[in-house]
């Protein structure tokens, strides 16, 4: 922790480092919630972002799921977009040009149904101007292993990470699925496999039912739960993971405001991603940057880095380490 206090007239330093990647501030946009950034150009100042993470890209274009794809839930939403995207080649030719011109780090979220697919996408992204990092979505089903998600098994998660790392010429961020018994096992596995950073959480798996039609609301039956509803789960997992890995952790889940973002940083996140909030307030990510900046100035922090992992646990030691800790009731 850097505890030097901000001097009169000084501006707080909002930069953070995700491995070799330096961000101007800790605020990124979460994959699948910010399109390919251009959608937002009229609504906020894209240059203010720490980084932009684009919609998940697969090897081949995917049409996605039939409608209904989304549904509102209490303080959240379910989505089953079905990974609709233009495929890596069209992404490079049609989308990267604009993105590269933004002069902010562009992180490409990738997904696949097999190790070979992850590898091949990474290969195609290598050397593409403007790509500053790769985020690996491991919540996808491994078709070879009966459709079990890569992200729910430490060995499979490690294998994907290693495969991508092997071909990548930019830092690799691995995005964890929260639908697991022990998130720290997956986190350690991907760290050991070479991940440069870990982002979490992806969506919780949920479902909605329409009582009138007696059918699932989503055509895909199940979907991913996001938004403020999941924030407590996300915060807990970020806290757990940040304690057991030494690579940077990026917090995601229900972040709507600078306060939310700062709580994730206290829990150990080096940076954060704004997801569902972009739908509610298209300026949300910029508002979070402003809020973090104001907080840092207010608290006279020379650098925002000083709050990373700064959660105070001292007075709680007795209970926090008691045998009851792992369970809440």
């Amino acid at each position: 922790m850097e505890n030097v206090s901000l001097q009169e007239g000084q501006v707080p330093d909002l930069r953070v480092n995700i491995g070799s990647l330096e961000l101007a501030n800790p605020v990124m946009t979460a994959s699948g919630t910010f399109g390919y950034a251009r959608e937002f150009e009229n609504l906020m100042n894209l240059h203010r972002l720490g980084a932009v993470i684009v919609k998940g890209i697969s090897l081949h274009p995917r049409a996605g799921n039939p409608p209904q794809r989304i549904m509102e839930t209490a303080c959240g939403m379910l989505n089953a977009i079905g990974l609709q995207n233009v495929g890596v080649d069209r992404f490079i030719t049609e989308k990267m040009n604009y993105l590269a011109g933004l002069n902010i780090p562009v992180i490409v979220n990738i997904l696949g149904d097999s190790l070979a697919e992850y590898e091949e996408i990474t290969k195609r992204l290598a050397g593409v101007p403007g790509v500053a990092g790769i985020e690996v979505n491991i919540s996808c089903p491994n078709v070879k292993k009966g459709g079990v998600a890569f992200g729910t098994d430490p060995a499979m998660a490690a294998a994907v990470t290693a495969a991508v790392k092997n071909k990548a010429d930019v830092p690799v961020m691995v995005k964890l699925s929260p639908n697991v018994t022990d998130i720290t096992l997956i986190a350690r596995a991907v760290e050991q496999a070479g991940a440069d950073s870990i982002s979490l959480i992806n969506t919780l798996i949920g479902m909605g039912i329409d009582l009138k039609t007696r059918r699932p609301v989503l055509a895909n039956v199940i979907g991913g739960l996001s938004g403020p509803a999941i924030k407590p789960v996300a915060l807990r997992m970020v806290f757990e993971v940040a304690r057991v890995v030494s690579i940077p952790v990026i917090g995601i889940g229900g972040i709507e405001s600078a306060e939310d973002a700062l709580e994730f940083m206290l829990a150990g996140a080096t940076a954060v991603q704004i997801g569902t909030a972009n739908f509610v307030n298209p300026r949300a990510s910029e508002d979070v940057v402003d809020g973090i900046s104001a907080y840092a100035a207010n608290e006279k922090l020379t650098s925002i880095r000083s709050i990373i992992g700064g959660l105070r646990l001292d007075s709680l030691k007795d209970h926090a380490t008691s045998s009851h800790n792992p369970v809440a009731k």
Partner: protein, 262 residues
């Protein structure tokens, strides 16, 4: 195309039926760039629940920088909107989507059913402004009963467009569907048809126009999270079997470009 997020002040609240309301919102930026058929996303509450904005067609705009939305209470979000008071502010975001492509060289036949009337006032406004004389054009307004149409008639009359009405219960105009009127009459030759209304009505309108070779533009709905192409949630199969996104490629489509369930 510019989009704006504004805090709109509610300047007028009108209740037409037990469930149908009209709000006037002061939002100069949105009003200034809106086109007929476009929509806005409105945040109904201040808290985290309901979380998502709700889409509403732009009912009409005025030079003084206001827009109107005309809506029906069907759930939580619209219920909250129905209880909004004058002078309160609502976060509004738009104008969004592709509206009607006005075919000013041909006569217009405009058909609205139920709440589908909402965007048509703006369309008539613009149609008649551009054409200067729209007395050859026609608007057919359909609804379940008289009270759903009557309060709106005064707003349509000043433009000089021919107005016909249809109600399911026969309490006003033709007893039956709006489409029934079209089927029973001689339409202006070479006309362009513009429609908005419930899905079955639009499906019927689409096949009616297809069989007569009339160009037909319809405004459709979809569940939406972002309203601006970011979430890919508002997909709908198009006529080629691909997914189109209603918020971006619609809500107004050439009817023939969409898949219809009959």
């Amino acid at each position: 195309m510019s989009q704006y997020q504004e805090n709109a002040t509610v300047t007028h609240v009108e209740q037409f039926t037990a469930t149908n309301y009209r709000l006037t919102l002061d939002c100069p930026a949105v009003a200034g760039s809106a086109r007929p058929g476009q929509f806005v996303m409105i945040r109904t509450g201040r808290g985290k629940d309901p979380l998502l904005r709700r889409p509403f067609s732009i009912h009409q705009t005025s030079r003084d920088g206001t827009i109107q939305i005309y809506f029906k209470v069907v759930g939580r979000g619209t219920d909250i909107l129905a209880h909004v008071k004058k002078q309160e502010t609502l976060s509004i975001f738009g104008p969004l989507g592709r509206g009607y492509r006005l075919n000013t060289g041909t006569p217009s036949v405009i058909v609205g059913g139920g709440l589908g009337i909402a965007p048509l006032l703006f369309l008539v406004q613009e149609n008649c402004r551009v054409k200067k004389d729209c007395t050859e054009d026609l608007i057919v307004l359909g609804a379940r009963e008289r009270i759903e149409i009557e309060p709106l008639l005064d707003d349509f009359r000043p433009f000089g467009i021919r107005i016909m009405t249809a109600t399911d219960d026969g309490s006003l105009g033709h007893h039956g569907f709006a489409l029934g009127i079209l089927e029973s009459m001689q339409l202006p030759s070479g006309c362009t048809v513009y429609g908005c209304g419930p899905e079955p009505m639009l499906a019927g309108l689409s096949s009616f126009c297809a069989s007569r070779g009339l160009p037909c533009q319809v405004s459709v709905e979809s569940v939406m999270a972002c309203g601006m192409g970011a979430c890919l949630g508002c997909s709908r199969p198009d006529s080629k079997g691909n997914y189109t996104h209603v918020c971006l490629n619609g809500p107004v489509y050439n009817a023939e470009d969409l898949q219809w369930k009959m």
